[in-house]
Subunit: 226 residues, 2 copies
Amino acid sequence: MSTDQTRLAILAAAERLYADRGFGEVTLRDIVAEAEVNLAAVNYHFGSKDELIAELYVSRSVALNRERLTELKAAEDAGGGPAALDDVIAALVGPPLRGCLGPDRQRSAAARFMVRASAESVPVIRRIRTREIGHLRRFAAALRRALPQAPEADIYWALHFALAMTHETINGAERLQRLSGGACDLDDVAGIVARITAAVVQTLAARATAAKTATVPVRRAARPRA
Amino acid sequence: MSTDQTRLAILAAAERLYADRGFGEVTLRDIVAEAEVNLAAVNYHFGSKDELIAELYVSRSVALNRERLTELKAAEDAGGGPAALDDVIAALVGPPLRGCLGPDRQRSAAARFMVRASAESVPVIRRIRTREIGHLRRFAAALRRALPQAPEADIYWALHFALAMTHETINGAERLQRLSGGACDLDDVAGIVARITAAVVQTLAARATAAKTATVPVRRAARPRA
DNA sequence: GTCTATAGAATGATAGAC
DNA sequence: GTCTATCATTCTATAGAC
């Protein structure tokens, strides 16, 4: 109990600092100062800096994916059958978006840490990330149930694009707000989830429709009605 | 001439290494070794590591945006009037995608460097990036001409999502290939440009249509036909 | 388990000879 | 302009007292 206090303080401090400044700008000394513990405590509890990062990443990754899968399961239970397409996407992108842009300050650091971890090239995290894709397979399966006629590739591109929009929205929120002169409301988390979900769903639906009327893959976007 | 040789060798080496390994993993000593020049040459020619990074980023940024705007202008000239929606998006996302995933090895480092620079949190680059958004305003204007009835916010979200999909596709290419078991063809650059373009165009068109029939913003995606 | 003190390696930057 | 040599920091990691 009392022994875990230092451990947890280090993890929380590291998460906060990495989330705020990125991995390249944070040293062990920054972390122990923020945690108000001794420098040697890091190596005592974790062995090395990389092992601290790895443990932090794995634990947060598990928590985030549990949240996503809980939301996915709720959508399946609510409908009785396979979850609707937009609910699947919302379960994937909602947790990080709510965590980062919403008012919940407690989860904020964890969510922003995870997004940074996906964006920056830290060797120890890269190794874990390329291996741990089980949760994405679950979502791929859910999409396939919701849209059985979709080509395999479309399913994966949909997941990929959903995560892409989510990550860039979080990392580039300030820039988008500035570019749009405030026209884009980054505080309206539900609206953002809806935008991302709609974009993915419409694209999947459009390709599924096009596939029925053409033998070649859709390569050129249709012009919108003027 | 001959004096620029060392300068250019340093810039090229730095670009290659940053593109390959990310900013956190490259030191000045790595750069001078790759460039086969002396360590002191960096400070002589650039003053400091940060000034080297800044000059590299600015010069590549100018080149990339010139390429984008040339493509945009070509689309406008070809059509005689405002460029078509999908041509505007293709002009924005085509250059980085072709540079990173295509066969052109020469531009590869430059394009991957730029994508890394947008993903990682390097203070000196962040400062430049949040200021330099002029090229995005040009693209926002082009989108507005192509789709005059679209809400202001939708225009910016479209640009934002287009860049999001582009960057994540480049940075996460390996992971997507692995996840999809090869179903997603990362070598088919034209196909990827078409996918991203289609996603953005369909979303903009769908929202423009919905805006005509509803007074409240679209918040919930339509279910695809089963 | 927690601390002080420090080892040992690497970093960015510079002085001064050529 | 280019080199060698080196400074001053900073980093991660550890040894050993408490």
